[in-house]
């Protein structure tokens, strides 16, 4: 079994982008950021401690922001390299660098259990509407499932899947 800190070191750009995702959404909503760690050798590999969001939507966007940012950025970086490498076996060294970066970023898209706890605390125990609570429940469940899946490398498979499937999807769409 490979220790988590080694995976975090090898895929450190993904950790940084994940925390940047939280950071950017906090800045966007003008929330105070009490403490931030973009990368460290430890558990968790990064964190953003921020003031309470003003509503449930902000809570969700701060928690899930990295999911969208990491997935989109990972796909955009890996796709142009994945086509020559995977489809045509004609990759250059730069293509392999792009694939490593894209997969690293995409595999850290999943919100952490800390994000789930914060979302749960803020929405379920806060003054959110029934609808917000109704949406939050399965989302938090999904985050915990994702965390459980990461024991079985689900996050890595997700990263590779984004790098491989996004180009296939685009090609199928436009061909």
């Amino acid at each position: 079994m490979i220790p988590g800190f080694l995976i975090a070191i090898v895929t450190f750009p993904g950790v940084i982008v994940h925390e940047l995702g939280h950071f950017i959404f906090c800045r966007l909503f003008k929330l105070p950021i009490l403490d931030v760690c973009f990368f460290r050798v430890g558990t968790p590999a990064g964190y953003v401690i921020h003031g309470a969001p003003k509503n449930a939507a902000q809570h969700m966007l701060i928690s899930f922001g990295p999911f969208f940012v990491n997935t989109l950025l990972g796909a955009l970086i890996a796709t142009p390299a994945a086509i020559p490498v995977i489809q045509f076996s004609a990759g250059k060294p730069l293509d392999y660098l792009l694939i490593w970066l894209g997969v690293s970023i995409a595999m850290h898209a999943f919100p952490s259990t800390g994000d789930a706890a914060s979302l749960w605390q803020g929405v379920w125990h806060g003054e959110a509407s029934f609808f917000a609570k109704f949406i939050t429940l399965p989302l938090v469940g999904l985050i915990y499932l994702g965390a459980l899946g990461s024991v079985f490398w689900l996050d890595l498979f997700y990263g590779i899947g984004v790098a491989m499937l996004f180009p296939k999807l685009l090609v199928a769409l436009f061909a």
């Binding site: 750009p13 940084i16 982008v17 940047l20 950071f23 800045r27 003008k30 929330l31 105070p32 950021i33 009490l34 931030v36 973009f38 003031g51 309470a52 950025l73 955009l76 970086i77 890996a78 796709t79 142009p80 390299a81 086509i83 020559p84 489809q87 045509f88 076996s89 004609a90 730069l94 660098l97 792009l98 970066l101 894209g102 970023i105 180009p167 685009l170 090609v171 199928a172 436009f174 061909a175």
Partner: protein, 163 residues
């Protein structure tokens, strides 16, 4: 021995340590420090990493249309080949072979459909490029079959041989 009563210190700002009269937005920070937390700047090294990732993203986006158009051309070529529209398949595979000249798959398919489209010159040029390259048994078998058929067409029949 511990002191029996400990004087409770007044609440302080967690940033500057000044005594606090009241919390700001529910946080133990003074009104002077609060804006600094809201507009917290990115550390210098994160700015550098972000700039690097931004640069890589730009590089990727520059490559994006070229790679994607090659992927699309290959798919269109494959569909045209299945539909026996070999001229169109040849055009599409030629786009891929031009973009990725080291791709054995693209050059092999170009050679095969060029032969079927009657463009023997392109077929010969393509197969010449494949010499010494390694590929799957299936593709190698297909290329060899087409190359044999092409040779039979090009090399004059021996006298007395059946057509």
């Amino acid at each position: 021995m511990e002191s029996a009563t400990e004087e409770e210190s007044p609440p302080q700002c967690i940033i500057c340590g000044q005594p606090l009269d009241s919390l700001t937005e529910g946080l133990p920070v003074c009104a002077g420090c609060y804006p600094g937390l809201v507009d917290r700047p990115l550390p210098r090294w994160i700015q550098v990493v972000t700039a690097f990732i931004g640069l890589v993203l730009v590089l990727s986006l520059v490559q994006f249309p070229l790679s994607l158009s090659a992927g699309i051309a290959f798919e269109r070529g494959r569909r045209a080949e299945v539909a026996r529209n070999y001229k169109l398949a040849e055009q599409q595979y030629a786009i891929v072979a031009k973009r990725f000249p080291s791709s054995t798959l693209a050059i092999a398919r170009l050679g095969i459909v060029s032969y079927r489209a009657g463009d023997l010159l392109t077929a010969i040029k393509s197969f010449e490029k494949l010499g010494g390259r390694e590929t799957s048994e299936e593709l190698a078998g297909e290329v060899n079959a087409v190359a044999d058929a092409m040779m039979k067409k090009l090399v004059p029949q021996e006298e007395g041989a059946q057509p």
